[in-house]
Amino acid sequence: MINKFVSTLNEAMEDLENGATVLLAGFGPGTPEHLVQGLIASGVRDLTLVANAGGRDDGPIAELLATERVRKIICSFVRPASVAARLFTAGKLELEIVPQGTLAERIRAAGAGIQAFYTPTAADTLLAEGRETRVINGRNCLLEYPIHGDVALIDAWQADRWGNLTHKDSARNFNPIMAMAAKRTIVQTSHVVELGELPPAHIHTPGVFVQRVLHVPA
């Protein structure tokens, strides 16, 4: 019987490796905060973190960055008052800024087996400097590559033992696409449901993308 549930945070975070690329979902809501605590506790280092934003002075991303175990962050946004901005200024954090839509699309591309794509987004900006562009149908486009994760940390509202997930309201955000894009997708879910309880037409992330699920009651 397939059963992707694990009982403890330690079990959920087992076998994390130094140097891993970690996809961290969330846009405000939808951030798997408990799993981030597990990542911090695991002690792994030299990480590449992929998240929408570099976080603030507090909150899960700031806490993770403050450990200085993240070598590089790939995100769309760094706030002036943030751990990320200070570490970057101090030369302790590499930064790759990616427009938010391109970030989402590069993550999806990894999950969907797309090897590269052309987008007009950012083609005429500083972010395109030194990179490959091409004019397609009269529009200047930038060549973008997929972002694969070794691990994805995912938040869910409901989960069953096959790893089928739903996400609540706008807490969905990066969760379904990051779940697709990692070798190992680890989920924290607010609710556990029986197999078959989620209507098959309304599953937001099918279990094929999920490896481990931890129940973390809200």
Partner: protein, 220 residues
């Protein structure tokens, strides 16, 4: 020119002026800052559908403080409500709407707009650590039309944000169709900025004096 002859719009005034020009049925994304306020000024009965790039289409009015849904925010991570008929989707699907040309309009804030439609709104220098790109580059090239909402002049030394050429790093090239400021509404045309509207009491000459780029009167 006398500064007492006219009263610049406040941020809500700019937002309200923009709301006037949005017809029923448009799908609209509002950037952070002045643009976020636009939806408050669309009359109740006019169905305009607002999109947030974090996976919401059909944003409703702000919730009462005791009605906040912790799972529901806009692209500024501010609590919102969903309007009847709205829908949720994931980030890639949401940006497919933004990048695929499905939004009739996006309204962004900016530091500067140039007469060729260039927009700069994410960084004041290439080297600063703060890089507030977010979804602006995607929206700027993806929406059917881009309007900018901003103050006409900088707060400090009153420099013009309406420019021949942007001095800050670009968000996108040649995409702005119209600019709404506290002083005027300007269309970006092949011949540069054309003044569509000015606040009461302001003259064309007084507006030009506050504007680095050359302005043209509405033809006819």
């Amino acid at each position: 020119m006398s500064d007492t002859a006219f009263k610049p719009l406040d941020r809500n005034g700019i937002a309200a002026r923009i709301a006037r020009d949005i017809p029923e049925g448009w799908f609209v994304n509002l950037g952070i800052g002045i643009p976020t306020g636009v939806s408050d000024f669309v009359p109740e009965g006019r169905e305009v559908i607002f999109h947030a790039e974090n996976g919401v289409i059909g944003i409703g009015p702000a919730p009462a403080p005791d009605q906040v849904n912790p799972h529901l925010v806009n692209a500024g991570v501010t609590p919102i409500t969903l309007r009847t008929g709205g829908a949720y989707m994931h980030h890639a699907d949401s940006f497919a709407i933004a990048r695929g040309g499905h939004l009739d309009l996006c309204v962004l804030g900016a530091f500067e707009v140039a007469e060729n439609g260039d927009i700069a709104n994410w960084a004041r220098s290439p080297n600063e650590p703060v890089k507030q790109v977010g979804g602006a580059m995607d929206l700027a090239v993806g929406a059917q039309r881009l309007w900018v909402a901003m103050e006409h002049n900088t707060k400090g030394n009153g420099e013009s944000r309406i420019r021949r050429v942007c001095s800050y790093p670009l968000t996108a090239k040649g995409v702005v169709r119209r600019v709404y400021t506290d002083l005027a509404v300007l269309d970006v045309t092949p011949d540069g900025f054309v003044v569509l509207d000015m606040i009461p009491g302001l003259t064309f000459e007084a507006l030009q004096a506050r504007t680095e780029a050359p302005l043209r009167r509405m033809p006819g």
